[in-house]
């Protein structure tokens, strides 16, 4: 479970998240909102990439402030731009990066790399230079790298925004199949129709928190 207790976040003087208290227990939670509404800041609080200016963020009871390392093992993160999260020049090396960081034994790493490659149709491309993959393949590789680490939760910050329709669908399907708890920031409202819960942010405050139907309607009316 993810819990925020009285969380306020600022950059300098500017308040970007204001007094949020939340418990996220559902398997599929989405966060939507206009540009600059604080969605990315919210996402980054969940794995300790950012610490709240005030309040606490707890992941399965672990405080991101004091248990940063354990939190990052429990919470995987997939970013918007697939290009900037692949850090090794070759597909399978990149997959192994997070696993090496977990200090897993070599056989275990090999086994997990194999199964991640197979799961995301990347086996043929294992020795392929990462920069030659398509946008969709890059995002799947990023997802595979996070999945292989077997976190309990995965946070996505607009994972499909930069993809074309076909790749969007492919990545969306991969996300739908994840056994993990998912928190997803997205502008692709279609992807959120079968989520359990949708939170609407506006200027750092929660203005709606509901099932997808009513929450998305609310958001569309507000943005119109």
């Amino acid at each position: 479970m993810i819990e925020l207790r009285d969380v306020t976040h600022r950059y300098g003087e500017r308040v970007v998240l204001q007094d949020l208290s939340l418990r996220l227990e559902e398997r599929r939670v989405a966060v939507i909102g206009g540009n600059g509404s604080g969605k990315s800041s919210f996402a980054r609080l969940l794995n300790g990439l950012q610490l709240p200016s005030e309040g606490q963020v707890l992941i399965d009871g672990l405080d991101t402030r004091t248990e940063g390392k354990a939190v990052r093992r429990r919470v995987g993160f997939v970013f918007q731009n697939p290009d900037n999260q692949i850090v090794f020049p070759v597909v399978e090396e990149d997959l192994a990066f997070g696993l090496k960081n977990l200090r897993l034994p070599r056989d275990e790493i090999r086994a997990r790399v194999e199964s991640a490659l197979a799961r995301y149709d990347l086996t043929e491309l294992r020795e392929h230079p990462a920069h030659l993959l398509s946008g969709g393949q890059k995002q799947l590789l990023a997802l595979a790298g996070v999945m292989a680490m077997a976190p309990a939760h995965i946070v996505f910050d607009e994972p499909t925004t930069l993809l074309d329709l076909r790749n969007k669908r492919r990545v969306a399907r991969a996300i739908a199949e994840l056994p993990q708890n998912v928190v997803m920031i997205s502008h692709d409202l279609e992807l959120l129709r079968d989520f359990d819960r949708v939170i609407v942010l506006d200027e750092g405050r929660i203005v709606a928190d509901d099932r997808p139907g009513p929450a998305i309607d609310f958001y569309e009316r507000r943005m119109a």
Binding site: R44, N47, L49, K69, R72, R73, G76, F77, F79, N81, D83, N84, Q85, I86, V87, F88, P89, V90, E92, E93, L95, A96, F97, G98, L99, K100, N101, L102, R106, I109, R110, V113, E127, P129, A130, H131, G145, V146, M149
Partner: protein, 212 residues
């Protein structure tokens, strides 16, 4: 030397430890420079060609490597001929071509990551001086990963500028490229952190196969 030129393969040359290939390259370079003889240069050149053909890397690969160097080889050989004689021109050209081909052979048969791991092991001995091999090797990997991206960004920026009728100008191109690189560097740092990177020095990895 272009580190990212690897051609997947399973032959003997691919299985040799990268450190031994680098050592062989250094030894060959030293030998050829220390013993300037035409017969030795010709013999080495023939041997390197034989290595290529023996490992299934055909004439096309050899040509791809030599072609961009032909002008430089011709200029150097021409200067030698003019200064000395035809024999020394041939010696110098053959020697350089042999070294070039051998260096390329090393990169063609060694995965960048294995090369980096070899550097990492070598750097392990510098740890008392404050060098963290894990950090150095990550930096090398990142460089290899993002050099092509840098090229793509530069091309994009140029294109956008041309579309708006801007003439080619180094500064006008460099500024937006640098801004995007800084943003990208931030994102990459986040991604590395999010994937649990921990630069605490580790014991050196065992030699040999470092694939995942």
């Amino acid at each position: 030397m272009i580190l990212s030129d690897y051609i997947p393969g399973t032959g003997l040359l691919w299985r040799l430890p990268p450190g031994s290939k680098l050592l062989a390259l250094a030894a060959l370079g030293t030998l050829l420079l220390a013993v300037p003889r035409l017969d030795l240069a010709a013999l080495t050149f023939a041997a390197v060609i034989a290595l290529y053909l023996g490992s299934g890397l055909g004439w096309r690969v050899i040509w791809r490597i030599l072609r961009p160097m032909l002008v430089i080889l011709a200029v150097i050989a021409g200067a030698q001929w003019w200064l000395f004689d035809a024999l020394s021109a041939a010696m110098v050209a053959l020697r350089l071509a042999a070294l070039l081909l051998f260096a390329s052979l090393v990169t063609l048969t060694t995965r960048a990551s294995d090369m980096i791991a070899a550097f990492e092991r070598a750097l392990f001995w510098l740890r008392p001086l404050g060098v963290n091999p894990a950090k150095v090797s990550l930096a090398l990997s990142l460089a290899l990963r993002f050099i092509p991206v840098l090229g793509a960004i530069t091309a994009e920026v140029r294109e956008a500028q041309r579309a708006r009728g801007l003439e080619r100008s180094v500064i006008a191109t460099a500024v937006p490229v640098i801004v995007r690189l800084l943003k990208m560097a931030d994102d990459i740092a986040d991604a590395i952190e999010a994937r649990g990177y921990d630069p605490a020095p580790q014991s050196p990895r065992p030699t040999g196969d470092t694939r995942p």
